[in-house]
Amino acid sequence: MLKIRSLNTYYGDSHILHGVDLDIPEGKAVGLLGRNGMGKTTLIRSLMGFVPAASGRILWRDKEVTGSSPERMARLGIGYVPEGRGIFPNLSVRENLVMSARLGAAGRCDWTYGRVLETFPRLTERLDHGGQQLSGGEQQMLSIGRALMTNPDLLILDEATEGLAPLIVQEIWRVIKQISQTGISTLIVDRNYRSVLAHTDVAVVLEKGQIVLADESITLLNASDTLSRYLGV
């Protein structure tokens, strides 16, 4: 559904992404791995349109969307859970969720306010708290919930389990699996590569802004030598 072709991205003078190619097939979960500072977030921000790509193409369902604004990309059906959560601190939990509610492409409405709260019961107790008053983990749940409220076709999770308690992490992985099963594609960045590989169909590894490894997740899970070379494990 999303194709990226030879994407190059700069921050000022520094060349971060070097001709990245990436395919996210319809209904598949894709893992994005790599050490700190290798360009995972940059890749996501480029494809969302936050950072303009210097060259390369982005295709959404075979339609050219290169250079689109983030709001356009989101409206195409991309839900974005950014690194660092991006909660609106001046809005209450309820408002954070309500404001982003939107029907998905083709009027799909799988994720409602009620279902999000069901998925994250902890948020129910905090509905009238401001975004800033939440604990780190609560914020993370809110951020995922908020992205789900847009009923996306592709969900991008950048370090979505950071700061979550193990039980919740399990829960999140369960939800991700559930999401994948409903036919939503996912792009997952997470430091726990084992979980990523366990919950994705394919995975790619970024090293210094280049894709150095791309394969079925199961294959990679077993290729611990190669992985340790690129991920330092």
Partner: protein, 290 residues
């Protein structure tokens, strides 16, 4: 002070407070919620007053229609203004907006002087609002003032509802804290902010139009109201509509009774109030803490 005078003074205080609120409401929207430090707000108020002066002959007795026309004109003006001068400022240091809006004040003032001259003009209240109500044996109260107060209340309630209870309001507030994230959720924030800015301008202009028959229109009328409106917004807690309402009433009371009891120092009173409140509650009266 006997009791009837006291009550009359309270009425004065409320009325002044409500008028202040009407002007401050547009400012809360632009300054408090969008986060644009808008010094030109007083100029929009002035533009509104001059609009009333200019439109009155065209509309005759159709006062409400005239208000509507003025609001539409002002909103379109605000829309264009945002597009020309503000759309590229949000990413920059907030202080750049200060410079921009200050420059706009200069331009507006001069444009006013060139277009309509420097005289003081009166604007007539519509006939159906020009009566007065007797109050005690000496005073009487102009009906128009009561109308103005009522209009202020309506605006207050409407604005409160839109900002706090609608998704539009939530989006606006979200945009103030994290523009990028709002875009990432698929909301066209540029358009949204242009509309909000236009609404702020329209509110200021509406306040000017409503105030015109009471205060007349004259050069420099915008500058006088600007600072006091900032005071109101800040005392109330930035971005809080209900706070602004409470604050305007408070300022109305302090100003009214300050003049009566401490004439010599009444210039200080409002600022003393602000300093005390902010030292007591560093985030204004109605800060939500988030």
């Amino acid at each position: 002070m006997d009791i009837s005078t006291f009550l009359a003074q309270c009425l004065n205080a409320v009325q002044y407070g409500l008028l202040l609120f009407l002007v401050a409401s547009g400012l809360t929207l632009i300054f408090g919620i969008m986060g644009v430090i808008n010094l030109a707000h007083g100029s929009f108020y002035m533009i509104g007053a001059y609009l009333a002066f200019g439109l009155a002959p065209l509309f005759g007795d159709q006062f409400l229609l005239q208000l509507l026309a003025g609001v539409v004109l002002a909103a379109s003006f605000g829309f264009i203004l945002e597009w020309l001068f503000f759309s590229y400022l949000y990413q920059r240091d907030h202080l750049q907006q200060v410079l921009m809006t200050y420059s706009l004040i200069l331009v507006f003032e001069e444009a006013r002087s060139l277009l309509v001259g420097n005289e003081v003009h009166g604007v007539k209240a519509p006939p159906w609002l020009s009566g007065s109500i007797r109050l005690g044996d000496l005073m009487s109260y102009p009906v128009y003032s009561l109308f103005a107060s009522a209009a202020c209340l309506v605006v207050a309630i409407g604005l409160y509802f839109v900002v706090n209870r609608t998704r539009l309001g939530m989006m606006i507030r979200a945009g103030a804290s994290n523009r990028d994230m709002v875009r990432g959720l698929g909301i066209n924030i540029k358009l949204l902010y242009r509309v909000v800015f236009a609404a702020g301008v329209a509110l200021a202009a509406l306040a000017g139009m409503i105030a015109a028959p009471m205060s007349s229109v004259y050069p420099g009328m915008g500058g006088q109201i600007l600072i006091i409106c900032f005071v109101v917004v800040v005392i109330g807690g930035i971005g809080s509509i209900s706070g602004a309402l409470i604050a305007s009433l408070l300022v109305g009371f302090v100003d009214t009774f300050g003049k009566v009891f401490f004439a010599q120092f009444s210039g200080l009173s409002v600022y003393l109030l602000m300093a005390l409140i902010l030292i007591w509650r560093p985030e204004g009266l109605k800060s939500k803490g988030y």
